[in-house]
């Protein structure tokens, strides 16, 4: 099988890699680039644990070929904090105990970031619908929804 040579922008860095033609972006991130934040839950686009942001849209990296990353801008959980300063969403997830085992958390954070990038003031219903493609078996979702709403309020400069 022929290897494909890919140049992409990953968390603001220019990155080049070789991958197999049928290799997913998720496998490239984890196995070739050492970025273990995105998780494989189902591998079929149902659970959202592998969510990354590609050209501004949140996608399941298990349903993207590594080769398709050519010329794209990819954001993963590893690029979310600025140095040691956590993103407001990350802080609020901790504050609200919006995680337990943590497997779904990178995906939830990337999906929530894409939501707040597009809509700084989502309603609870909008948050729940937006995050319907991210499955969590620990929290019961309520704490996640509250953490996202609280982070949005903080990012709008409103005291919580």
């Amino acid at each position: 099988m022929a290897s494909v040579s890919v140049s992409t922008t990953l968390n603001t860095d220019e990155v080049e890699f070789l991958c197999q033609a049928d290799e997913t972006l998720l496998d490239v991130l984890r196995n070739r680039l050492g970025l273990m934040g995105a998780k494989e839950g189902c591998g079929t686009g149902d659970c959202g644990a592998c969510s990354v942001i590609m050209d501004g849209r949140v996608v399941c990296s298990c349903l993207v070929l590594g080769a398709e990353a050519q010329g794209k801008t990819i954001e993963t959980i590893e690029g979310m904090a600025q140095g040691s300063e956590l993103h407001p969403l990350q802080k609020k997830f901790i504050e609200h105990a919006a995680l337990q085992c943590g497997v779904c958390t990178p995906g939830f954070l990337m999906a929530a970031k894409a939501l707040l990038d597009a809509n700084p003031s989502p309603t609870e219903e909008e948050i729940r619908f937006w995050l319907a493609g991210n499955l969590c078996r620990c929290t019961g979702y309520d704490k996640i929804v509250r953490a996202v709403a609280d982070a949005a309020a903080e990012m709008r400069g409103e005291a919580s």
Binding site: M1, R57, F129, A132
Partner: protein
């Protein structure tokens, strides 16, 4: 497996036509990549069409809208002109999958995957949409309902792929709607889906109508007799009842894990009635 990213329609069709073994078109990949992971599926070549000019564009033309084959469904909902002209089509496309899936999945892929339960297909058929098919012998334009043949099978020939979906300009005083039944509110597959499009005369009487049913047969059903029941009416209760009966009669579903045939026949009528009322209101009828 080979991965190819042609930059012209000619190169794409040439690759597909000359492929030895099984070649697949890649747009959003939300169906194709899932299938590629199953043991029973083998792809020898994947042709990614997203680098071909125009594939990711929605353009407003003199005849209506041209939606490139690789336009993700999320982009349809962000296009104010398209939402205003064809709200039913956009709502149907936006029902597919999660936010993550919406960022990748396409209506052309939904059509070519040829699932009887595809949400966007009945809405497109009701809207009278057509597709532009590119192939080794040039392009041809066919109605959407002529693309699916059977579950998982289309009428596309070797070397051909859908380059764009063509939506007409909506007629004056017209409206469309799509409704589906699912046990859950999101992340689910239609048990039944119904698309309705109608146009009214100045007095609010239905002049033309198209009704399309999904998930009640091996492929989408263009229910012409059902549409005839509301033409010439002001969508009164008797007309709606006749429409529901005709839609149930036009349904030929199976029993499966998502619903029984009897339930599907009934729900096809219920949804048709509700969708027709929404389309009627959107057309300006009272």
């Amino acid at each position: 497996m080979r991965y190819e990213r042609p930059e012209t329609i000619g190169d794409a069709t040439a690759l597909l036509a000359s492929a030895k073994g099984r070649a697949f078109v890649l747009a959003g990949g939300t169906d194709l990549l899932v299938r590629m992971k199953s043991d029973a599926f083998e792809a020898d070549m994947v042709v990614d069409i997203k680098a071909v000019a125009g594939m990711s564009d929605i353009s407003e033309t003199a005849d209506g809208f041209e939606i490139g084959a690789a336009v993700p469904c999320a982009a349809l909902g962000e296009h104010a002109g398209l939402v205003a002209a064809w709200p039913g089509v956009v709502e149907a496309a936006n029902l597919i999958g999660s936010t993550q899936i919406q960022g990748r999945c396409t209506m052309s892929g939904n059509l070519c995957n040829a699932s009887p339960a595809a949400d966007s297909v009945p809405a497109l058929v009701a809207a009278g949409a057509r597709v532009r098919i590119a192939g080794p012998d040039g392009t041809r334009i066919v109605p959407v309902e002529d693309v699916p043949q059977a579950p998982g099978k289309t009428t596309l020939k070797k070397g051909e792929f859908i380059a764009a979906i063509l939506l007409p300009k909506p007629a004056q005083r017209s409206g469309d709607a799509y409704l589906r039944f699912t046990p859950r509110t999101e992340m689910d597959i239609a048990v039944v889906g119904v698309g309705v499009q109608l146009a009214l005369d100045a007095k609010g009487v239905v002049e033309t109508a198209r009704v399309a049913l999904g998930a009640v047969g091996p492929k989408v059903v263009l229910a012409e007799q059902a549409a005839d029941t509301i033409i010439g009416t002001a969508l009164d209760d008797a007309a709606l009842e006749a429409l529901a009966e005709a839609c149930s009669a036009a349904s030929n579903p199976i029993d499966d894990k998502r619903g029984t045939a009897a339930f599907r026949k009934h729900v096809a009528g219920v949804l048709a009635r509700r969708a027709a009322k929404i389309a009627y209101e959107r057309a300006g009828g009272k």
